[in-house]
Symmetry: C2
């Protein structure tokens, strides 16, 4: 990390004609370190969301329609019951994998100043795709979870969180981490774009 700082520091102290300096030295802070840091946090958020969602299974004794209410059978709620939660798992797993690959790429390639612009562009272009993926996963899981929490009387979809409280707590936590991951990806995209912009001026 320190090796990429030195040319910028040297350029700032030895010359007063910024228009003639190399574009790569114009970035005032260590882009790579912040980028890697944010991607590690993104990885953590995605992994927590996936693990919390995966461990959401809860079995409860529930009454069976058509039989007396005293007759109850064990019935499990798990994330595979809803296609929205399965999509959520697929999206957040992919994001976790993506974040760790890009963090490693940022560490390895960020040391080479010649690659920096291309990396910034590649990250900005890929990050925005993942913004869409994670935001849509958060939205889809969130809306199903909201029906589970409140139900929908118009179409007689009963809430289930009064029975499967632990399941819903897991789902809610996973969605919160997913929302955090989506916001983080928005900031990562903005960060790469702003770093590109700073190199023009």
């Amino acid at each position: 990390m320190e090796s990429t700082d030195k040319p910028a520091a040297v350029a700032a102290t030895t010359t007063t004609t910024p228009s003639t300096t190399v574009a790569a030295s114009k970035c005032p802070f260590n882009y790579s370190a912040v980028d890697v840091g944010l991607r590690v946090v993104l990885f953590a958020a995605a992994v927590i969301a996936v693990v919390v969602m995966a461990t959401s299974k809860q079995t409860e004794m529930v009454p069976v329609p058509g039989l007396p209410t005293s007759v109850r059978v064990p019935f499990s709620a798990e994330f595979t019951d809803s296609p929205a939660f399965v999509y959520f798992m697929a999206a957040l797993s992919t994001t976790g994998l993506y974040s760790i690959i890009t963090a490693l790429a940022s560490i390895l390639l960020g040391r080479k100043p010649s690659y920096t612009n291309t990396i910034l562009l590649a990250f900005a272009l890929m990050d925005v795709v993942f913004v869409g993926i994670v935001a849509s996963a958060t939205g889809s899981a969130g809306s199903v979870a909201y029906i589970g929490l409140r139900g929908n009387s118009h179409v007689r979809w009963d809430k289930i969180c009064n029975v499967y409280d632990e399941f819903c707590r897991h789902i809610g936590t996973a969605i919160a981490f997913s929302l955090f991951a989506a916001i983080l990806l928005v900031f990562l995209t903005m960060f790469s774009t702003f770093a590109l912009y700073k190199k023009i001026r």
Copy 2:
């Protein structure tokens, strides 16, 4: 539109030293025209999604639980029945407004070369926020619509699209246009970012 082309065309024909030319003339195509075009298409997609969702109300005679099946009462399905669809409407309305404001800004400010870099940055930063908004709205409306179409036997949420066919057709069309808008916003963000990148090289 034509006025922004002229400096680039003149620069390309009068000089062969691209490294010394003004950064604004390095973009090989008319950024503003493509940007405005994409934003007008985005506006159309958002407006169609909002209008199709708003006109989705359908009234059907449905049986009442606890009464004989021959007894049916009129019951309406409309987008306000689901918070996910209300969020969808709010998100797509905002996106429509945003797209037309940015299209006008692109037309008015795109003629001033000094503003171009700042506009590209501002568009890229704002577009990525709207990628998140529209993607999450598409995801949330899509997952509720999927339950309406297929139901969920695990939690006994019955499908409603066998009764409210026209309503579901409207919802499905609105979601398709919203998905298109989200993809368009991803391309708009990529476009602005790539235009910034081209100005560095």
